[in-house]
Amino acid sequence: MGCSSSVPDRSAGRLGGVNPDNGGANDPKNLRVKLVLLGDSGVGKSCIVLRFVRGQFDPTSKVTIGASFLSQTIALQDSTTVKFEIWDTAGQERYAALAPLYYRGAAVAIIAYDITSPESFHKAQYWVKELQKHGSPDIVMALVGNKADLNEQREVQTQDGIDYAEKNGMFFIETSAKTADNINQLFEEIAKRLPRPTPPS
């Protein structure tokens, strides 16, 4: 669905004004980043977050209602730390109406799809367009093909993901929350691509 912002501009305006810290804190050594996870239902958004934050994988995780929040801090090699404030959104289509609430002001968006489901890949493209239209202009976007462990059931070719990501200036990676493949790399790579605030002179 072609949704813009679900909550009328009233709050959007408020947000823009009063909320200077959404893109990350000003301290160049300790970044704080709002990250939003979008994608079709059941592609493993919550699992990616749980794997990243708690190092766990639960094959029968709960349905996410509305959105859920977790945060995790990682340290990079150049001794900067990045605190990810992760909003994991509900996947069902109608919840897209609430998504703007969560992606507004986000510095990073992870758009996930399931490599065994072409439908979810389409949905991912919908989200990319939506963010290009309504997200922050300098948002860092990552396209993530999850469930890479199910390679034999693959229906979305890696090259398709790469191509689409390239066309849209996104970072692309295939992950598996189940085997933990590429999960940390995903977040590290994102951290590297973050626009750094210039150190206060």
Binding site: M1, G2, C3, S4, S5, S6, V7, P8, R10, S11, R14, L15, V18, N19, P20, D21, N22, A25, R32, K34, S41, G42, D58, T60, S61, K62, V63, T64, I65, G66, A67, S68, F69, L70, S71, K83, E85, W87, A90, G91, Q92, E93, R94, Y95, A97, L98, L101, Y102, G105
Partner: protein, 815 residues
């Protein structure tokens, strides 16, 4: 549905307690037990009392069972056919039911699900039977209840969710439905008054279907006054058609019940009490649930019927929703023992049936949790009807495609937060946290998965009792009240959310929560909420409209078809329902139209005429035309209503804009004034500062003056001492002078004497001449000194006394 409940690391409802909460849960579980005992006593007492009252007043009703009886669960053995056998199994179950440790044999449950999935023919058969017997159900039910409860009494055990219900073992569907115990009839009656008010099943259908129609304005077909009218007319209908019910006000014990509910519903009564609250018995339409499932089944077999073509039944479940439900089944309370294969099948059926029942909602994530929760407490069909009550009515518009009402409620809640907790909201604003981030998931899940289970159920008790969303707001505000003070200490957005999640997740003190919610926020009332919703709805709707205009459209292209189909469906179900009111199907159909719009009465008449005409003429052709006309009429009515709604909304929006404008102006004025005040203050402050500076300068000057004064005085003193010294010196000098004078006089006289003597000598003996010049030289020298002394004396004496010196001068001149 199996009610397998075991206590492991799980709570008493079979849900796993999060490891970090195990300790606290243990602490509270004893409190829970205590509370549970107390409230069970109170409820028993209350119900017995009601039972007696009811018996006194409704002597015609057969409820003679004074004891709290439980007839919840499904019949155990599908094979059992005699009451004797039933009793047996009841005994068995009662024996096993140690409050919590009932484990259903899954084999027992397998059957019914198979049964419902069997060919529709069989089902139809039994369903018919069902309908046929349904009239007698009440009586039979009472008997069953009696048997059960007497059993229980003798066992001394608590009524528990065990056992073969009052229902008839030979029919297998029985398992999926059970009447609630007669002791709850009074509550049921009271609550059913409420349902009648909002329309019965058939009218609901039309309303629901209409939600699905092209115009999105339809999402709130029942706003404002027109709805009230409908309701009133419905009430009238209901009261004339069904057994006459006393008006709600006559339930003097409602307050008592309310306070009981706030104290919590006893665990073992909860399933039934909830059904009574939602009015399941009144909502239920015989066979309706089975019909829905049949549709679902057929769809699976025959695949993709054309909606409009599938005569006489509900539409299929869209593939998309079906998939979604399938995806979510294993993700609903994963790990709960009751949600095994059988449990999931039940869940699937309930959700699918609901999705077909109300296509405007279909299936929305979150409903899986609600249905799952209900299935833990009641048989399948009961759960379905309870879900219908909750989603269709209490949460109308919440889980629909557009989720309008849930978004409206978020704005309303933010308003209330700003009003009640301005400081907290300021803090949240400062950190960039939006209230809806927090409250959105709370409201959408009705606190499932966010609060500990005991608290969730306690909140649900109140919500279902009150029949609206007031408690949702109150609970959320209570949580903010409880945890706000902790939240204001946080330093960034992430911490706020994390902390709040942790705190709410450990809200084990359910009594405190419910009490705070109910007592602390009494001014949050349904009227108040409606008012605020009215205020915010236009903005949400317009955003949505914008969105559907822009991108892909949400509009259902099959709107007309659905409408048509809904007519047909109603046509069918109404016939079944109102067998007594023998009449033309069309007439009944049209009789429903007033629910859509009361102004349609004349059209109704017109159409009635049409349909009668059609009987006379070549039937099929005209019939078709009638159908077409009906569709047309429906469309027009809807259009009209949507226009009316739109204009209303526009008006509301306009009013709001005006208000906003005024407010903005006022705000601007206030700001300006504030600025002025600030400026004046600044000026004042500046002046004060200046004054201060002046004062200081003055002080300095004074100090300096004092200093110079002192210096002057000092100098004066010095001058005085100098004078004195001078004086003294003068005196000394004078004295010395006088001395000197005396000496000079003496010396003079001595000199004179000497001179005289010398002259006398020389005269007397003028001896050697050689000595003489020497002598002559000497006196001249002496005379020089003398003359000098004399000269000086003269000069100083000149002013003092001139007279006495004449001889001296002559002396001098002589020399």
């Amino acid at each position: 549905m199996g009610g397998g409940i075991r206590i492991l690391v799980k709570d008493s409802y079979g849900f796993t307690v999060r490891p970090q909460h195990v300790h606290r849960y243990r602490e509270y579980s004893s409190i829970y037990k205590e509370e549970e005992g107390e409230r069970l006593e109170k409820w028993k007492e209350f119900l017995v009392q009601q039972e007696e009252c009811a018996r006194a007043s409704h002597s015609k009703e057969e409820h003679t069972e004074p004891v709290v009886s439980e007839v919840t669960e499904q019949s155990g053995d599908p094979g059992q056919s005699t009451s004797e056998e039933r009793d047996d199994s009841a005994e068995q179950c009662a024996a096993v039911s140690e409050v919590t440790a009932v484990e259903k044999v899954s084999g027992e449950e397998e059957n019914p699900s198979e049964v419902t999935e069997q060919s529709s023919e069989k089902r139809d058969d039994s369903a018919e039977q069902c309908a046929a017997v349904s009239e007698v159900t009440a009586i039979e039910n009472v008997c069953g209840g009696e048997e059960n409860s007497s059993k229980k009494r003798s066992e001394g055990g608590l009524p528990s969710r065990e056992a073969p219900s009052s229902q008839h073992g030979k029919r297998r569907e029985v398992k999926t439905w059970a009447d609630i115990s007669p002791s709850l009839n009074c509550i049921d009656h009271m609550m059913s008054v409420r349902i009648k008010k909002t329309g019965n099943m058939k009218s609901r259908n039309i309303r629901c279907e209409s939600n699905d129609l092209p115009s999105i304005d339809e999402t709130r077909p029942s706003d404002g006054g027109s709805d009230d009218d409908n309701e009133r007319s419905d009430t009238a209908n209901a009261q004339t058609s069904s057994d006459k019910l006393p008006p709600e006000t006559s339930f003097s014990w409602k307050e008592e019940l309310a306070s009981l509910v706030r104290g919590g519903v006893p665990k073992d009564l909860r399933g039934e009490v909830w059904q009574a609250f939602v009015g399941v018995r009144t909502r239920r339409v015989e066979k309706y649930y089975q019909d829905l499932l049949a549709v679902e089944c057929d769809a699976t077999d025959g695949k993709e019927h054309d909606k409009s073509a599938s005569e006489g039944k509900k539409g299929d479940l869209p593939e998309k929703l079906k998939k979604q439900i399938e995806k979510d089944l294993p993700r609903t309370f994963p790990g709960h023992p009751a949600l095994n294969e059988t449990g999931r099948n039940s869940l699937r059926r309930v959700l699918s049936a609901y999705a077909i029942h109300n296509p405007s909602v279909g299936y929305c994530q979150a409903m899986n949790f609600f249905a799952g929760l209900l299935l833990l407490m009641m048989p399948e069909e009961n759960a379905f009807w309870t879900l219908v009550g909750i989603i269709d009515e209490y949460f109308e518009g919440y889980f629909s495609q557009e989720m309008t009402e849930s978004q409206v409620d978020q704005l309303v809640f933010e308003d209330l937060m700003r009003e009640r907790f301005p400081k907290l909201v300021n803090h949240l604003d400062y950190l960039g946290v939006e209230v809806a981030w927090i409250s959105g998931p709370w409201f959408l899940s009705i606190f499932v998965n966010t609060l500990p289970w005991e608290s969730v159920l306690r909140v649900w008790d109140v919500i279902l009792f009150e029949g609206n969303r007031v408690m949702l707001f109150r609970t959320a505000l209570a949580l903010m009240d409880l945890y706000g003070p902790a939240l204001v200490t946080t330093k960034d957005a992430g911490d706020v959310i994390t902390l709040l999640q942790t705190l709410t997740g450990s809200t084990f003190d359910s009594s405190q929560l419910v009490l705070t919610a109910c007592m602390g926020f009494l001014n949050i009332t349904e009227d108040r909420l409606q008012e605020l919703r009215q205020k915010h709805r236009p903005s949400i709707v317009s955003t949505f409209e914008e969105r559907s205009k822009g991108g892909k459209s949400f509009k259902d292209p099959k709107g007309l078809a659905t409408k048509l189909y809904s007519f047909k469906h109603d046509h069918g179900s109404i016939v079944k329902e109102n067998q007594t009111e023998a009449g033309l199907d069309d007439n009944i159909d049209l009789g429903e139209i007033p629910n859509l719009d009361s102004h349609s009465a004349s059209l109704d008449e017109f159409l009635k005429g049409m349909s009668i005409d059609s009987e006379a003429d070549s039937l099929p052709d005209l019939q078709e035309q009638v159908v077409w006309l009906k569709v047309e009429l429906c469309r027009l009515l809807e259009e009209k209503r949507s226009e009316a709604l739109k204009s209303e909304e526009l008006e509301a929006a306009f009013m709001e804009m005006v208000q906003e404008d005024n407010r903005m102006e006022l705000a601007a004025k206030v700001e300006k004034l504030e600025k002025e005040v600030a400026e004046l203050r600044q000026l004042l402050a500046d002046k004060k500062e200046g004054e201060n500076a002046m004062l200081q300068v003055l002080l300095k000057v004074e100090q300096e003056q004092r200093e110079t004064d002192q210096a002057r005085r000092f100098a004066e003193q010095e001058a005085a001492t100098h004078k004195q010294a001078l004086h003294a010196l003068q005196e000394k000098y004078d004295k010395a002078m006088a001395d000197m004078e005396k000496r000079v006089v003496m010396a003079e006289s001595m000199l004179e004497a000497t001179l005289q003597y010398e002259t006398g000598q020389s005269k007397a003996s003028s001896s050697p001449k050689s000595g003489r010049p020497e002598l002559q030289d000497n006196p001249s020298k002496k005379a020089g000194i003398l003359s000098f002394g004399l000269g000086w004396r003269d000069r100083s004496k000149a002013s003092n006394d001139d007279t006495g010196n004449v001889p001296d001068e002559t002396d001098d001149q002589q020399e």
